[in-house]
Symmetry: D2
């Protein structure tokens, strides 16, 4: 990757502010647009004309808000198509959660589109602020310390691994619920208690905290009824979530459904993770 590149960061939230600032600190030329309410002066300005010479144009995460650019820190309402029209064929466009419309629009204009949110290293890095955001919620809600509490992490993918470790790092007694033999073997290697995520009912009454990471209905009425009074449930699974919210309400189980934590609880960390991922993309492309 070349050491002095020309970046345009267009639209986005505090993560893109961090991204732009950090790119500049690394010695690159950085222009921002539609980030004007970001709490500090735009690093560049005056229209999108200059974007046509950028080595890399960065769109936010998600890139689009309907037909418009996702630009919560700007008063501008920019159709995404209009942004793309300012670019030249062959330019590199990095976007987060690029939807079908954006893919098509980029292709039609001959742009090289890369979705940084689709890359595994970003998913790995984002597991950290997601986990820490969930822990913050648990600390705020529970009248006990996480230290000494009994916590269950449902699902043992990327996020489950980070959550289990951070919870134990605080001194919680952690169990992991998983389905396949390999995940269960890993849970034993890392010395966690083990539950079967397809046989949770009847095994839940000891926990003070249950955090779900599985985007499937794993905590239904039977499982929720099994929880002890005061047990907190945090659902980190994307829509439709993994908890039967209706049953929870009826049973008086407190459930907090927490989505998109990285951008909310640690925007600087999340922005730097996007930067690293874009650097990897550039390195792979030989830019």
């Amino acid at each position: 990757m070349r050491q002095r590149l020309n970046f345009w960061v267009i639209g986005g939230d505090p993560r893109q502010m961090t991204l732009a600032r950090s790119l500049a600190e690394d010695g690159h030329t950085v222009h921002t647009y539609a980030l004007d309410r970001g709490g500090e002066p735009s690093l560049a300005a005056d229209g999108l004309a200059g974007a046509a010479v950028a080595d890399c144009v960065v769109l936010p995460l998600p890139a689009a808000d309907g037909e418009n650019l996702n630009a919560p820190l700007s008063s501008l309402r920019l159709p995404l198509a209009q942004v793309l029209d300012t670019l030249r064929p062959g330019q590199l466009l990095c976007a987060g959660m690029a939807d079908a419309r954006l893919v098509q629009a980029a292709e039609a204009r001959g742009l090289t589109l890369r979705d940084y949110f689709a890359r595994e290293e970003l998913a790995v890095a984002n597991a950290v602020p997601t986990s820490e955001g969930a822990i913050q919620i648990a600390m705020e809600e529970l009248p006990i310390t996480l230290h000494g509490s009994k916590a269950l992490v449902v699902g043992y993918g990327r996020l489950g691994h980070v959550l289990a470790r951070q919870l134990r790092g605080l001194g919680a007694a952690v169990s992991v619920a998983a389905r396949n033999y390999t995940d269960l073997a890993w849970a034993q290697v890392w010395s966690y208690g083990v539950e079967r995520s397809d046989q949770l009912s009847g095994w839940l009454c000891g926990y003070d905290l249950v955090i779900n990471t599985v985007p499937a209905p794993v905590l239904g009425r039977a499982e929720l009824a099994d929880l002890k009074p005061g047990c907190l449930v945090i659902d980190l699974a994307s829509k439709p979530g993994g908890v039967d919210f209706t049953a929870a309400a009826e049973l008086g189980v407190k459930v907090i459904w927490a989505l998109s934590l990285p951008g909310k609880t640690a925007p600087v960390t999340a922005g730097l993770a996007i930067k690293n991922t874009i650097y990897n993309i550039l390195t792979e492309l030989g830019v």
Copy 2:
């Protein structure tokens, strides 16, 4: 310690509520008084008369609010002297932070007074909710994750040990500032970075988070000026604290002075720790 004792829990906050409930769950007879706004029915009621036959009378932490019993969950204003007058000579009275007046009053009435807050095992146990409360504050205030952050713990006593471990458990890069050779040796044994707490100035610019546990002026103007922009300072030291708050305000350093965290952030955990300490007292006395 006998398995069925008669306890009176008089005054206090949610910690005493937990204490009373947990004593009852352990099979003891428990009466509460002046805890009537505790969010649940008093376990016993109707005047203090019965307290004269208690095996152990528990006063809150701190026991006194001026001349009165510390009873924030009650509409009663009870002079502490009046409470003591209901007791018999020889009875065991456990109180937290017993001041000179209470010591004298107990002695005058021939009561056996024990200050549970003065016991080291409670101080050890309380280090956990204090540490976790500080971590919660840091998570709420910082735009970065504690994971990957650089954190300095000033002072390496009980609280410093717990803080350093929990911060690292979350993935922070932790340094410890201490003065004497033994503490410095322990910091190395536990693989922390090491600073000299009497030579902090000039060594602080790398930290994202500084947590002070030393009740002495360790973070003065020179040290605060050395911090990088955005560094958060949390002061856990009891009055007068360890930070020059005037200088911090002038320098634009954000300082949060957080006192009495156990009762605030984890009253149930804190209440159970008091119970364990009282059990130890009873065991030692052969009750």
Copy 3:
């Protein structure tokens, strides 16, 4: 899986002794054969005739020693074909490292062959005794404690993860060398130092211990020349290993090539891991 099954454990080393004993402790009927020098009385005996009614026949790891059964604890030399001839079509045969000849022989006789060594959960479980065996070697060889040492783990697969964690658990400063972005992201999530395994030369001089897990030539002459005097190299990669042994000898670098550690250093743990894997196989087959 049924709770009372009939197992035949035929041939093998102390791992199979453990397996047989533990199966019996779990309530199953267990017969062993060709394990007679195992240091304790065979749990069953007198020819292989009874094996034809076994619910599960277990062969060792590896199953074969040339054309014969691998049976280092027996004076018998049993052709593997002869063992299989005693079984009935449809019987379940669990073997470790089943080679082409065994696969063919089992198929010709209509046996249901499962290679337990090919299963990922066993590979995960075996990473633990391999890692611990390597740590034991390092402790024996080095005049320094692992605590406080600088250790590099080359390769960040299953074994690399366990090694890095155990080394840090002892207090070593651990770095991980990996190639792909996902592995590097994980190394950062777990707070290890990071090296690029394809660019090691020039970055090795600080390490006291280098443990290779990659079965490819990663530590060649240039890399070995970069090590500091006294640095210990442990190669855990299967043949042909990852170290240029000739160059190491010429450069005076001490290299220990340690293979098959689980069976050597922790045969009981390794035998129990085989048992668990066989249980999983039986459960999947609905036996």
Copy 4:
């Protein structure tokens, strides 16, 4: 402490070799004597005459072997008195385990004697190689991995803390046996299982490994009879040890009594710890 001092290192084992070498690497002038079989050329030589101008004379650990200097790496037999006679009044003499005779002899000659082995920071630092040496023994002796094993650490002083942490760092399930409430509170803070060291009998049958650090008879016949077959006992307590060795032999319990581990298993680490302690002594004396 001044940056260029004149050291004489007289007598000793590989720890003193390391000490001498490391002092020289730090830029000091170093002379050794009676270390001639240390495997490398003495850094200095030819009689003790020059020692009279040393800023610091270092004797080994222990300093004396009867009336002579403890000098296992030398063919010389030097009466300690003769060594001291070469020194001038007021010179600083650092020795390990200085016995009454040495104290008296130093006083008689007006020497400033400091016993580095009596300092707490060295005791803290030495807990690490002792713990690691014990872990190495356990790895060598047990047919199971420490990971997943059940280990009991008897005594929760300096060594107990380090042992418990390193064992858990490898993945063992660790319990701590202690007596006083403060130690028990710490064991709970660090999430260890807890036993009462004065009530061990009847609570020992679950352990695979018991490591004693208490120099008092804690593992008598009743306790040893309670261990499960194959349980390994390691006694790290100095004489007379904490185990009833006769009973152990009769009961067939394997006990390994391991003393002076730092010098044996990690002489380089142990030597560097002595150096740091001597530096602290020099700093305190304003040398």
